[in-house]
């Protein structure tokens, strides 16, 4: 199997290589024939087919490169082992080196190198936009202090320390004779190497799963410090242009000022364009086809505008993404939102692939290399050492203010994660050789540094993390109790966290959220998006579709849909767990599932156990069941930023499900104490008003009839706000729900596209306790049956939140014959 795969890979690679070399050769041949024959001989009559290589050359070559890169990526991912050992970025660099070598061997000219313009204008923006658009905002702003500290102070420190140290060593004469003007050259070099690169960092950290806070700090730092580096770079570059001796104190002050102007200006541009984008997206309802285009084009304009004004374009496009996400997601239709998501991932992932491959290819060019062992080694050493010093010092300072200090492991990972990448490459390629005489040396060193950090550190980061956290990945005993109690305890911990947590930032965040709700959302969101009630059905609809899909997928995975009818463990003996397992691995489920390596491993053990006996087999089944249906603790599912995968909404479905259960339970306990009966009556009344549901409601009324009418307090059918009355009437749980829904944007739904962060919860939150069919049914069935059995669980009941604005519901509600409740639920309930 493995062997076959390998063969496949090799043959593919050969094809790819042949393809590029042949293109290359053709290129040459045609170039010569064209120049040779094109000018002299007049065309001999009409040609039916002509060969116009020159005509299509550039776009053709670009397309071929992109295809090569994509195929390479595909090949890498054929073996999951390969990419777990060596990060994809490193593999792509190797591939680039290889291809560069082929090209070089073919005609001894490095024809394809990454030009800085190509990189900065066409490759970088979409990567940064992707990062901004999918940024877990709450986490980001919650840690903004730390991120800024590392990004600004840390970067300045790195630049200064590396530059000055190199200068110091240069003065001792250890590097031999360099053709430099003085300190400024070294500072310039230091500044272009100072920034941790977002592309490299995301590429590596995505595969190494660290905790959220750590990830957002490293990630946020790498995004923001690019702005800082570019400013530093520009400042030093212009100082060199002025000439080292002519730099006055005033210039230095100007440099510092420009630093803030550039950074803040870039941010401001980003915010302005985000506003514009959100506002425009409010009115695109009738041109849904081009809706997604606005997102990209306006963000790109933000980037270019900032570039034009010589402000930080990276910051601009980052903040466009960060600020617009909420409103854009609310405004766009579901289809457009999905398009945006996939398009964004496609662009980002594609340009990342190309960048790394180009980094490899560009290095194969003898003319740009200049070797200076001392300089290169010292640079590597200084970069590593100062990164560690910077991180440790800043963390020490930050930890004095942080309630949650960053631990030792975090610091190690942060220091070690200081990868340099394409931004440094782009900047060094931008250097003007007339001003900076040692450009070649700087270039070579930068390339070496990039290779060293991406390849070596990238490959070892994962093992380092696992090694440091070795305790965590202990072998687990596959017993049911353990799994169960373990999960229970996880839930307890996460609850305790929620109870004790969220202490800080409340005031400011509350203020902001109020302001946002009052003014900004009103301005930037479509009216329909604001009216959450209108979308409740949408949300339910989506959930139902999702349920249906999982339902079918589940059936197919188990071989047949028969399992639905025969849920008993014994019947499942024949199910092939191996194929099951495989499909689980391959299906692009949520990254959460993948991350939970220990759980999957547990399942594997279960698979092995299977053959032993029937009893074991049942165990396996139970494990599988638990594995699949035990709710995951919240902590595991938060914020999974992934460049390559569009996160699924599974978590939200889970949250919603639990929420429904909780609310129903609260409702039930509330009813059993005081007002329950009257409530079911109310709900029944709403049914009665609804013509499409008339039959059913009548039935309910008659069922519940004898219980209903002995609470005169609530018998007025025109009572404008029944639920409020109820909530005033003794329990505050309903107002709780409402407040709850408004108060907090739930974790983990950031990636949920068709819903804006905040409104999501409102919409998701309100329906459950209003799914009145169940609550009505409860009072009747409760004595006979356990209330929360799946049989009672139904979705997409017509909802009534208050007696106001019912019409939209009634209209939107799909009339359904009453013997087929709108339930897509997977279990055998209906059967």
């Amino acid at each position: 199997m493995q062997c076959k795969k390998l063969k496949e890979r090799v043959s593919l690679l050969v094809v790819v290589l042949l393809l590029c070399s042949s293109t290359k050769a053709e290129n040459k041949i045609n170039a010569t024939t064209d120049t040779g024959g094109g000018g002299g001989a007049p065309p001999s009559g009409y040609k039916i087919v002509t060969f116009n290589w020159q005509h299509v050359m550039n776009p053709y070559i670009i397309s071929v490169w992109i295809m090569v890169a994509s195929i390479a990526k595909m090949v890498f991912h054929m073996s999951s082992k390969l990419t777990t050992i060596i990060p994809e970025s490193a593999l792509l660099i190797f591939l680039g080196l290889l291809l560069g070598g082929v090209v070089w061997a073919a005609d001894h000219v490095a024809s394809y190198t990454m030009k800085p313009t190509l990189f900065f204008f066409y490759l970088l923006p979409q990567i940064v936009l992707d990062a901004g658009y999918f940024m877990p905002n709450r986490l980001f702003f919650g840690n903004l202090g730390a991120i800024l500290t590392y990004a600004v102070i840390g970067t300045v420190w790195n630049a200064a320390a590396v530059g000055l140290s190199l200068y110091g060593v240069y003065l001792t004469g250890l590097m031999g004779d360099l053709n430099v003007d003085g300190m400024l050259d070294f500072l310039l070099f230091g500044s272009l190497l100072a920034a941790v690169d977002p592309v490299a960092v995301i590429a590596v950290f995505e595969e190494v799963h660290v905790n959220d806070v750590l990830f957002i700090i490293v990630f946020g730092e790498s995004l923001l410090n690019d702005g800082v580096t570019v400013v530093l770079y520009n400042v030093f570059d212009s100082f060199i242009a002025i000439g080292g001796v002519n730099v006055t104190g005033v210039d230095c002050v100007k440099g510092v000022v420009s630093f803030f102007v550039v950074a803040l200006g870039g941010t401001l541009i980003g915010i302005i364009f985000a506003f514009l984008l959100s506002y425009i997206s409010r009115f695109t309802k009738r041109v849904q086809i081009i809706e997604p285009g606005f997102v990209f084009i306006i963000s790109y304009l933000a980037y270019l505008t900032a570039e034009m004004l010589s402000l930080s374009s990276i910051l601009a496009i980052t903040f466009t993404g960060v600020c617009c996400q909420k409103y854009v997601r609310a405004n766009l239709s579901e289809g457009s939102a999905t398009t945006v998501r996939y398009m964004m991932k496609l662009l980002a992932s594609g340009s990342e692939t190309i960048i790394f491959m180009m980094l490899g290819i560009s290095a194969v060019d003898v003319s740009i290399w200049e070797w200076n062992t001392a300089f290169i080694l010292l640079t590597l050493l200084f970069i590593a050492v100062y990164r560690v010093i910077g991180v440790v010092t800043l963390t020490w300072i930050l930890n004095r203010y942080r309630v949650v200090p960053l631990g030792f492991i975090d610091q190690v990972v942060m220091s070690y994660g200081g990868l340099r990448g394409a931004v440094a490459y782009g900047l060094v390629a931008l250097l003007d050789e007339n001003r900076v005489k040692e450009k070649k040396l700087f270039f070579s060193t930068t390339v070496i540094v990039i290779y060293f950090t991406v390849v070596l550190q990238g490959c070892t980061t994962k093992s380092l993390v696992t090694w440091l956290k070795v305790k965590r990945s202990e072998h687990r005993d596959p017993l049911i109790s353990e799994k169960l109690h373990g999960r229970a305890f996880d839930h307890i911990l996460s609850a305790i966290e929620d109870i004790s947590g969220q202490i800080g930032h409340h005031y400011i965040r509350d203020k902001w959220e109020n302001f946002d709700k009052k003014y900004i959302s009103k301005l930037l969101m479509r009216k329909s998006a604001l009216k959450s009630k209108d979308q409740i059905l949408d949300v339910f609809h989506n959930l139902n579709i999702k349920d249906a899909i999982t339902y079918i997928a589940e059936g197919e995975r188990r071989g047949s849909l028969a399992f639905i009818k025969t849920p008993s463990a014994l019947q499942l003996v024949n199910v092939n767990f191996n194929s099951n397992k495989q499909s689980e691995d391959e299906a692009p489920t949520s990254s959460v599932l993948r991350e939970d390596a220990s759980a999957i491993c547990l399942d594997m053990q279960a698979v092995e156990l299977r053959r032993k006996s029937l009893r074991d087999c049942e165990d396996v089944y139970t494990h599988h069941l638990l594995q699949q249906y035990l709710y995951k603790p919240k902590k595991q599912q938060k914020y999974n930023y992934s460049r390559h995968e569009v996160t699924s909404n599974e978590d939200d479905a889970q949250e919603k499900e639990i929420f429904e259960k909780t609310m129903k339970r609260r409702l039930a306990s509330f009813k059993s104490t005081k007002h329950g009966v009257s409530q079911s009556k109310k709900l029944a009344k709403h049914y009665k008003k609804d013509p499409s549901q008339k039959k059913r409601s009548d039935e309910m009324l008659s069922n519940g009839g004898q219980l209903v009418f002995h609470d005169p307090e609530f018998s007025d059918p025109e009572d404008p706000c029944e639920f409020d009355v109820i909530s005033n009437g003794g329990s505050n749980f309903i107002s709780n729900v409402a407040r709850q829904a408004l108060a907090d944007t739930c974790n983990g739904i950031d990636n949920l596209v068709f819903i804006p962060e905040e409104e999501t919860v409102t919409r998701q939150a309100l329906p459950p306790w209003a799914t009145n069919n169940d609550t009505v049914a409860l009072s009747q069935r409760a004595q006979v049956q356990m209330p929360w059995s799946p049989n009672n669980f139904r979705r997409l009941m017509p909802l009534r939140l208050s007696s106001r604005s019912t019409d939209s519901f009634l209209l939107a509600d799909i009339p359904v014959p009453e013997e087929h409740p709108l339930s897509f639920l997977p279990e055998g309930t209906a059967l």
Partner: protein, 207 residues
């Protein structure tokens, strides 16, 4: 965040509380602020509704059970001190301070954490997790896709695995043993490592 002496002064018996719970004074301060932000009508006490307002708990399958654990029998309101005391059970154990044999058991001991979990199951407080009690918890924790039959099956198995004396129920001793035998690492990994430390004021994260 207004974490200062004046805040501490407002807390009843603060020294005693610090001693008992082992929280640092800044932790106490944060918890106190948290307590007050939960306490919507400034009554100085929390009721169940206040807890139910935490929206994260509504999506926690065991949320309501956990809330109930904060309230001792027959009590509907708790003050800050008992709030802190309950939370203190989950304070990470300092690994360096290995327990001296004669010192009283600390509030955040392993046994106390387990006790909290045990109470979650043991609703009738008879010191045993009966089949039915376990079934109820399972129902909370498993998705709606699992049928009753499957639930029963899992419940039986879980009890059989843990039940040593054959009474078809899990006593606290048995519960402890299961946890100890199966997952010595569990409490170590979930409660004691930095992951759980992180839990303290997760949202406070930075400056």
């Amino acid at each position: 965040m207004g974490c200062n002496a004046s805040t501490l002064a407002k807390i009843h018996n603060v020294d005693e509380l610090i001693l008992e719970t082992g929280f640092s004074s800044s932790h106490i301060c944060h918890l106190y602020n948290r307590f007050h932000s939960l306490d919507k009508d400034d009554k100085g006490l929390l009721n169940r509704g206040d807890f139910q307002n935490i929206s994260e708990l509504a999506v926690n399958p065991l949320g309501d059970r956990i809330i109930n654990n904060f309230f001792p029998d027959g009590v509907d309101l708790i003050d800050f001190n008992s709030f802190a005391r309950t939370l203190a059970r989950f304070r990470p154990v300092e690994e360096s301070l290995k327990k001296e044999p004669d010192s009283p058991e600390p509030i955040n001991s392993r046994a106390n954490k387990l006790k909290f979990a045990f109470q979650l199951y043991d609703q009738d407080k008879d010191g045993k997790i009966s089949n039915n009690e376990l079934l109820q918890v399972l129902r909370l924790m498993l998705g709606v896709q699992v049928t009753e039959e499957q639930l029963d099956n899992i419940t039986d198995r879980t009890i059989q695995e843990a039940d040593l004396d054959g009474d078809n129920a899990i006593s606290f001793e048995e519960f402890k043993k299961v946890r100890a035998k199966l997952s010595g690492h569990f409490l170590a990994s979930s409660c004691l490592t930095s992951d759980w430390d992180l839990g303290w004021g997760y949202g406070v994260a930075s400056l």
